[in-house]
Symmetry: C5
Subunit: 357 residues, 5 copies
């Protein structure tokens, strides 16, 4: 996850200018059309624009699912077909939008961020949802498999999804988009608890870097999911009848999930800041321990070494009786040992009294 | 208390899907039905669904109390019996909800978090309250004894609880749920003050870990009880007549308690952050002390040891009169001692002037 | 001041249950009744309930002043006499309430926190005010002398207090309650400035503990007085005519005082956090100084001591001309001293260039 | 600037009690009356109360300017003359008010804080403005020269000030009061940048104390000017016609200035916090450098000193061939030097690999 | 970027006083007039005031573009020509305004901050936009090339810009002004990521200064762009018909961009604070490492050096058999080596057990 992803056009570009991102950034798209009523389901793979036009206007519920990003030409033609505002076309092709809900004349345009786990690393993918009275169109930059559970429910006759209207389908897509954050948060939560355990068991400097990258992921994740709460809230307060009464409680449940996700992200941020503090405190405590041992050993031996140095001097005892007479004392050596043991003992007693040992 | 508790279903699961949590997570449930009017009390243990249906619709005040979590089948049948919204059924079986109040057609659904003390460790249990014009249903995941004081008051004739309506019972349950936080906070407060005393008396590194886990408990507790204030406030502003006038002051009192609880949690957070700072400051002060002693002893003896080293050199005095003539001086040895005493004295004076001693 | 003061009843206790706090917590109460009009003042000490009932209903302005906490029986009878809501009775006897204003049918119930200085330590006392159209009742847990200045003004004929109505008396009591915080804040401010001076003059570790306890007092004081602003504001916005027009500017002045008090508390918090930082910075600067001196002395003498050690070795010069020939050189000793002086000089130059000296 | 300035009266003092502050706190006042219309300007120095009464009621625009604080007697008589609310009189004599706007029956009462630079130190002075339909009265505790630029504009015929009404004069006074903060902020900004430069060039501990006192000044300045934004905003939203339409844009400009001032204060707070951090980081980096040099020198010479110590032992070689045979080897001395050079080289290589050098 | 830029006039200056900033601060201005309709484009370089007056009143869309700041005389005359409020004239010539929107009688006045990159350093330039029903006037202090892309679009026939009204031109200018922040943020983002990489690879103290100046740039950038969100929002909520319906979605898109910019700035602030922490943690970890090695080497060799010192003493063995008999033992030397090896081994084992190695 990058701090800044280059997804803006040069300042001064006319609004609605369409540039497809490079293939590297966005894989070629695949298009699927799902058309169902209570009794029947039809699926079309890679339909052409005519087919799409026919089906979207039919009475049944239609969901056009575009995976990856289409090229600019297709987008322009498709935009003309369903009268998509040029800014919406540009937003979709440019990517990197904040989650938002924008009402247009007879369409709602929603952008959602979906965090996906790919081999342990987190990617934030974008879902664009165009909601018209008769159909839904979604553009999704992430894995095609994400919508599989929903498709299974549509294909199975007799599910609530089949018997309810288009707004229930829209709710189901939003619900899926939001709930995709839970497995990601679960994996982050496990990682945090593992970090904590490792830190208490045997702290090593690599933990600090992991905590740092954890914090960075949480900064970006927060930025990605925070505005979703407002989007859902805005939709709940809608007064133009996009939502039927029976669907509202479901969307309220969705709203609860966005709040719970933000709660979790905030708790994780608190917890990782707390881990960082704890690690640094631990390091400084250990350093303290080490310093204490150094001090004790050094301060005991430094005076002793001085004493033995004294009796290593070569003053000429024959020159005068004042020159190191101790060297000639019969018990001089023992006396020096006694002195040194006394000094060491005294120091140990002093350190113990000061509680440095 | 875990940072993340796995209580979400895979993204894309149809809303209202019921999975009972494993037996390990949720013990088997016991069901009690309490039915009372001003004059009589009836209690039923483990009633079957028919009985329940009969009693709930009776004119008397009914409280169906389910302890632990029922299995999914029972839930589905019971949900059909009282026309419980599928999302409510799912929320109860999934658990891990934030405190919330949700109005349904002729029912209110409330979720509360109740922190319980079990042998010194804190568990956050959930209370689900379904409030219908004629009855209350509660699901509770914590200890069965929690409601005992309330039951005693119901069983005793002549109490205010017996003479008031269903809303007073609902209030009493919410009041109990909220007040359960006080003993928990009391125990945390005592722990904090004990930590502070230990820190001032004889700080040891284990305190840091205890402060850290205290902080973590407070993060989670805050997340658990913070939204309860909004729930009670929402209920107070209700305009559909769930609350009769005489009960409102009681609920306002409840609201005051939620505010006091949040005040206490915030003060504890401040106090534990302050403890953490104090501990680290203490450690760095002690390290400073130790360093000072090391410096003083080392800097006094290092030059002295150098001097005695000088006169331990073996230059051949016979080779030239310039080779260590001091060794032959009659008072050389005494002079060296004099020099060393002077140096040591000078240094002590310097350190004292610098206020390092 | 304790972080948590045990002032809650066990969860599940019926609301309105009255338990008098132990004598240790609350001294026995004394009761005074003040009854005045523009022309006359009457005072009753320890009146019985009948007297109280008579006077409160009289046309004059009555102020019933209860100091300390009454016992539960008296409270219950008095509550019946003036139709006091059971929750209010419970709140008063339990204590530990947050400042609040609660409207009841024909009474206002206000709780205020009054910080008092007792021999340099701060106690937060509680004032309960029951405001009825015809009388005021106050319960106060603090010193009886607190209201003396107000009583003097009542007893003196011709003061504004005597000529205005009951609301002016209520304002005067609230004003007194709020202004009691100023002497406390003044003493804290002086203490803070004294701490700062001591810290700049001769910092010693005890300052850190004093800053810590100052921070704790400020946490608790903030919790105690913060809600008073809302209480006064709520009263100002009252639409039921409790306040007459001429009294409103006075109460607005009161509101200003609550804001100024909060400003002061916040500034003190900032200032004490800043003191803590400054102290720690000072300590680490001093440690740095000490380390520098140690380093300079040690790094100068360590190589010198090595050199004198070399010429203290006892290699047998007679065994080979390669064994320590320096010892036999006529100017060997002087050369060694020259070498050592050169090394010491070089090092001093290096340290000075690095600005470590 | 003090944290707490004693400007409160003892709790329980009747509102409106007038005590003049001591002469030390408030110099004796001087009174000036300015009376102008489009065509004429009249100025009176030290007018008596009769004169004041006459002029204020005249049709021309009158501005009564009181510098310093009057004594309590004069205040009481003046208050009676213009029917000034007793609380306003008390506020002016007591001083230390927060900036505020208070509407009275036919007067507005405004309090503004004006920071003034006196020989490099900042004093917060107070301006009290009484705004009546026919006149303005100001009390100002600061330097008399502050209003000079404004007076010049009044005295000059043909200025906009002369042709506009009383509200334009009021705006001009407020504008002057607010803009007085800019020179103060400029001087603080220069000081901050100078501190930063000194810190990067040659950091010394005195900087820390200067940063600390800078932070304290900013805390107090923020407290002093923050509420002015609200005062101007309140005045802008006035619905009683104090402001004529053409003056409103000017006051909006004033409002912008208050916001810019707060922006600057906040930026300075951020910048000084950042300086504090940078200084501490610098100190710890330097300490790190010093430690590294100490370590390298000590760890290289400690083993070497040990080795030369070994060959300074006096074991009796004649007692046994096992006693220090090295001393008798022909190349023993050279071998020891070789060993020592090898050890030192190895250590240097190790330190370089570890990037400690 | 300076913390404080001297752009205020002395307090008390009459509002609307025009002083041109010095030539150093503001280069001489160039004036361009663009006049277009759907079918034709006319451009005038350095038109005189008469020409300007004629063209602005014509039916076509006119955009008067002033680069740099005009002198005070020209400003006054131009102000008279288009009836520009004196405060607006002063704001433009003084500079240093916060972004704001001010409605005047028949003009809107907008101030925007445009960050520009000049050789890697960031300058915040100001754009003043006067929006009248018939024309736009812009004053811009930055590079003339900034508006080039927009001019190209106007010159090209058939673009949306040509066919839409004046509000679309105003939107395009605002859009350009806001989008200028993206390249700046991109360059800051790259710098941040480069800093992070360098920090992890080979941290050196210069990084700290770069992080510090990065933080300072972000403080100033935040102050510069934060109020732009409010300006655009205020414009969106306009009820006087400045914006036609089709332009509103475009401006909403603009609003989204301001929010994204603020999001990025906040993330960068978090990220740079986190870098600072990481750097300091790294430094303290390295110091810890160094201390550990010092401790181990010193504590191993200090006792050994003491031992060899003991046997370097010169006690006279002939004086008594108690004087250093070890020196005469046949295996004394070997025994001492054995003792020293044992001590070193014991210490290494102790350090390893303590996990200090």
């Amino acid at each position: 996850m990058r701090l800044f992803s280059k997804r803006h056009q040069p300042p001064g570009t006319p609004p609605g200018t369409l540039h497809r991102r490079t293939a590297q950034e966005a894989p070629p798209s695949s298009i699927h059309l799902l058309d169902y009523s209570k009794h029947a389901v039809m699926e079309f793979d890679q339909p052409d624009l005519n087919e799409i036009g026919d089906r979207l206007n039919a009475a049944s519920i239609s969901w056009l699912r575009i995976n990856g990003l289409p090229d600019a030409d297709w987008m322009r033609q498709f935009g003309d077909l369903i009268e998509l505002h040029p800014l919406v076309q540009e937003d979709i092709l440019n990517g990197g939008q904040r989650p938002k809900l924008e009402p247009y004349e007879d369409q709602l345009f929603l952008v959602m961020n979906i965090p996906e786990l790919h081999d342990g690393s987190i990617e934030v993918e974008q879902l664009y949802l165009i909601w018209h009275q008769h159909y839904l169109v979604t553009f999704y930059t992430g894995s095609e498999a994400t919508f599989e559970p929903l498709l299974k429910r549509v294909r199975k006759a007799g599910t609530r999804l089949r018997s309810q209207g288009l707004d229930y389908l829209a709710y189901s897509i939003l619900d899926l988009a939001i709930d995709m954050a839970f497995p990601v948060l679960e994996s982050l939560g496990l990682e945090l608890e593992e970090l904590e355990e490792r830190l208490l068991d045997h702290p090593d400097p690599s933990i600090l870097h992991e905590v740092h990258s954890m914090k960075r992921v949480l900064i970006l994740l927060r930025r990605a999911v925070w505005p979703q709460r407002d989007v859902i809230n805005q939709l709940l307060r809608d007064e133009e009848g996009w939502l039927s009464e029976p669907v509202k409680p479901y969307l309220r449940d969705c709203y609860d999930h966005t709040v719970r996700i933000m709660d979790l992200v905030e708790s994780y941020r608190d917890a990782s800041a707390s881990l960082h503090d704890l690690y640094l405190s631990n390091v400084s405590l250990r350093m303290n321990d080490i310093m204490r041992v150094l001090t004790v050993i050094a301060t005991i031996f430094i005076p002793l070494t001085f004493i033995v140095g004294v009796y290593g001097m070569n003053f000429d005892r024959s020159a005068s009786p004042w020159n190191m007479p101790e060297l000639g004392w019969p018990y001089g050596y023992l006396a020096v040992w006694g002195l040194m043991v006394a000094i060491a003992g005294l120091m140990l007693w002093f350190f113990r009294r000061k509680k440095w040992l």
